[in-house]
């Protein structure tokens, strides 16, 4: 399995002052990579750089060994898809119309969708388990259903790399697990490479094969959940007291929070 994406000494941000400062890592095909870190550590900025919404101020991002700023945007979007935190859609498009928009990178302007495009849209809907919502209007759906539609749209792009920015932060735990189980399935069955930003450290630990912990725009730690989610790392980055246990079913690290009231004096 070759390297799919390579981030090389990247600086980037919205203003002159870079949010990300010299970030480097590589990701191979088929990986399930989680990006974690406190608010403002540069997680979303990093995703925006990888999808070319932002351009790096310094450094390079290579996708399939090509500088992504030199790949045509439309061509890039046939291979990389993105799912945001939450999509507020003011216009009442039908679910089918939204999912078919995922075919835009594959179609010429004015070219109507063919049978093949409709089949791909149907397949995306069925792999996200929402085939029954096909004719519903997007503004009538619950947050969990809407997020599935947005994932289905991303899958209709037929990407080999899927990027997600906290896709479950507005959902209850039941829906969170459903979405992450779905991503895991796509990762294992269709060899879809996944890069996901997560706030919940335990979800990250449970689902990701590898974690990158960002702090103040730099990679603080890069490794397996076991390497990254130690109480020393978490306390250093998040400045809060935690205890790291083991999940009794998966043996993955499990982070337990400790409130200030309960923590021993010498800690604070």
């Amino acid at each position: 399995m070759g390297t799919l994406l390579k981030v090389e000494d990247v600086f980037g941000g919205y203003t002159k002052e870079a949010v990300l400062k010299r970030v480097s890592f590589e990701i191979s095909q088929g990986e399930f990579l989680g990006i974690i870190g406190p608010n403002g550590s540069g997680k979303s900025t990093l995703l925006r750089l990888m999808t070319r919404v932002l351009l790096p101020q310094k450094g390079k991002i290579l996708f399939e060994n090509k500088d992504i700023t030199k790949i045509k945007l439309k061509e890039l979007c046939r291979k990389i898809a993105f799912v945001p935190q939450d999509t507020l859609i003011n216009f009442s498009f039908s679910v089918e119309e939204i999912v078919l928009m995922g075919r835009i990178p594959h179609l010429k302007r004015l070219q109507l969708e063919t049978q093949k495009d409709f089949l791909i849209a149907q397949k995306s809907l069925s792999s996200t388990d929402i085939l029954h919502l096909n004719d519903k209007k997007i503004d009538q759906l619950s947050a969990g259903e809407r997020q599935r539609v947005i994932i289905a749209k991303a899958l209709a792009q037929e990407p080999i790399l899927l990027l997600l920015d906290e896709p479950t932060s507005h959902l209850d735990i039941g829906h969170q697990i459903q979405i992450l189980d779905l991503l895991k399935k796509l990762n294992q069955e269709e060899n879809l490479t996944v890069i996901i930003v997560l706030h919940d450290l335990n979800l990250a630990s449970e689902y990701c094969d590898r974690l990158i912990l960002l702090n103040e725009g730099k990679v603080f730690k890069d490794g397996t959940p076991l390497d990254v989610l130690t109480y020393q790392n978490i306390e250093a980055v998040y400045r809060t007291i935690v205890v790291v246990n083991k999940n009794p079913f998966s043996s993955k690290p499990y982070v337990v929070l400790v409130s200030k009231e309960r923590c021993p004096q010498n800690y604070s």
């Binding site: 999808t51 070319r52 919404v53 439309k74 061509e75 999509t87 003011n90 216009f91 004015l110």
Partner: protein, 318 residues
Amino acid sequence: MNQGRKILLLSIILLASVFLGISKGSINIPFLELFSKEYQPILYLRIARVLLGILVGAGLGVCGVVLQAILRNPLAEPYLLGTSSGAGLGAVCAIILGISGTSLPFVAFIGALLSIILVYVLAREGNKIPVQSLILSGVMVGIAFSGIIVFLVSISSNPAMHGMMWWLLGSLQIYELKILFMVAGIVILGIILIFIFAQDLNAISIGEEEAIHLGIEIEKIKKTLFLITSLITGALVSVSGVIGFVGLIVPHMVRLIVGPNHRILIPATCLSAASFLVLSDTLSRSLFPPLEIPIGVITALIGVPIFIILLKRKQKVK
């Protein structure tokens, strides 16, 4: 009802409006007698007016659709954004300077483009353009430009200019057939070009970043569409003056009927806005004959209540 039938129904409504527009007017003539030799000039005049009404309606309606999508603002349209007044000022300046004839639409286009850039810059706060401040800047620029038009017309030594106040409220009176043909060419071409971007407009109306993730070069497309809408608005204003609210009322009504998909929204808006303008013009000619009420007064009387409803609904969502 499926989308094809809805389009058919809207086409029938347009045909009926055209029939009404030709048969009614400041003088009552039985419909069949209109075709006699005696009334031929009147018939031609009415047909030309109806055609201009179709053109102005379709053009302004589609401009409204596009501006609402790319600015992600339900209140955007050429009049409320000050684009129409900018075009009007351009045209009036051109006439005073002695530029007229077929170059008039292009001078109006420059006026439209400059005013849309001005409004955009005024309304921008950092990287965002808040809904209310865009409309506020648009209305302010519109009022300022209308004021300048009134000023220029009143001080003009050219007595012909004194009849030019119709720029401010619009009229479908036809004064030069050559310009009409050219404007028709510009508007039809513009609408076709806009239709090519229908699927891009769908993606942009979900969100700008979403559109980028679908491979759409959003900045380029936005600029192109601003240019096309300014060109259409400029061309239309140079023949019909400033007619407000068409681009606001019609797209909203049509969205309720056919939904937000631009592939169908654009043609459906063309048909409905054309009917709307032909009917408004018929009213303007036949309500108080032989006087003509400016068509902009009629569209404003219908448009303002709808504007208020939309604004209230927007506030509730917030």
